[in-house]
Symmetry: C2
Subunit: 210 residues, 2 copies
């Protein structure tokens, strides 16, 4: 299926479509109209039709969308029909929590190893059995394994240096939980999850409601 | 200081200004021009001037911004100059990782207790000493404590029910890590962190770079 040029706004809504369609599929729903999907997702049905139109003719007049086909197609567009090997940089609380979170693996995102500079952690394993290596072994590990994504949960003072090393090793994407904006060469994807900033937005919204 | 009507786009950039100004302050920088800040943050200086203009006249011609004043004012706007008491709903890996993350507390977000339905966890404490209560005790706890924010990390099958209970107890905001869009009464703030969706966006961007 040929993709048209798609705006960031549409793309950012795709994971949500994927989540709702997955729920419908799990409930055994075979097909759904844009009106029903609209009600469920609190999005206008014309927005749904417009959004999904970017990805070809999934909907049929008088029939609606075939849930499983649409789910599979959006999964394909999002690259979820293949396995992505990941490593975690940082084996602290958050790094281990993310590594132990089985849901990512169900979607094809597999954390293969963690790296940390803390000697007390190196050589141990997470509760799911993922091994923790020394950050000094990063280059050797990357040479021997096919890793696409690094999950970065280390303090910002170290993250720039490690990010440069990852890029030199051929990493394709960094999922960045460190509180800093990484400066990477063109072609490398950075997706930021700045938790403190999310909490500040919440706090701001709460102030406004008083 | 009187706030003008501020767009969501500006608000969503405030935490990032706050982060950069905090770094400058820690480095001992007293004042900064919009040009210097622009270079550092990779935002145009006219955007910076426009954004900060919403919050009154912090910048002075030929002087720039006084870092500490601006940092403090933005912190005030974001509601970071007071303590916000939080509870965690869900004491699994992610719930405990967030509870043990000391950085939130530095910003005034204090996790006071965790709640879980797993009897094996109830009565235990996190590594930072935060107690884990039974979810059955939620209403009693809320009656006796001044809690503003709930951090929700439970599976989506339970999150709607617990969210309704939290709202009935007078919660002001929910920081939602559950993979579902919560339906709450008007006046209650929900800030979503859908980690899987962030990972899907990363995956989509990676596909595009091939």
């Amino acid at each position: 299926m040929e993709q048209k040029e798609v705006s960031q706004a549409v793309i950012s809504r795709l994971p949500r479509y994927y989540r709702y369609l997955g729920e419908l599929k799990d409930e055994g729903v075979e097909r759904i109209s844009s009106n029903e999907l609209s009600e469920r997702m609190s999005v206008t049905s014309s927005q749904i039709r417009q959004d999904l139109n970017h990805f070809g003719g999934f909907g049929q007049q008088g029939y609606g969308y075939h849930v499983e086909t649409l789910y599979r197609e959006i999964g394909h567009i999002l690259g979820l029909d293949k396995t992505h090997n990941m490593i975690g940089i940082g084996a602290g609380n958050l790094g281990q929590a993310l590594a132990n979170y089985a849901n990512f693996e169900k979607r094809g995102f597999r954390i293969c190893a963690l790296f940390d500079k803390n000697p007390a952690l190196v050589g141990t394993k997470t509760v799911r059995g993922i091994e923790i290596f020394s950050i000094d072994d990063l280059e050797d590990y990357m040479k021997d394994h096919d890793i696409e994504i690094a999950v970065m949960t280390i303090p910002k003072t170290s993250s720039e240096g490690v990010s440069a090393r990852l890029c030199a090793c051929g990493i394709k994407a960094i999922w960045n939980f460190s509180h800093t904006d990484l400066d990477v060469p063109e072609g490398i994807v950075v997706e930021n999850v700045h938790l403190s900033e999310s909490l500040m937005k919440l706090s701001y919204a709460m102030e406004g409601k008083k």
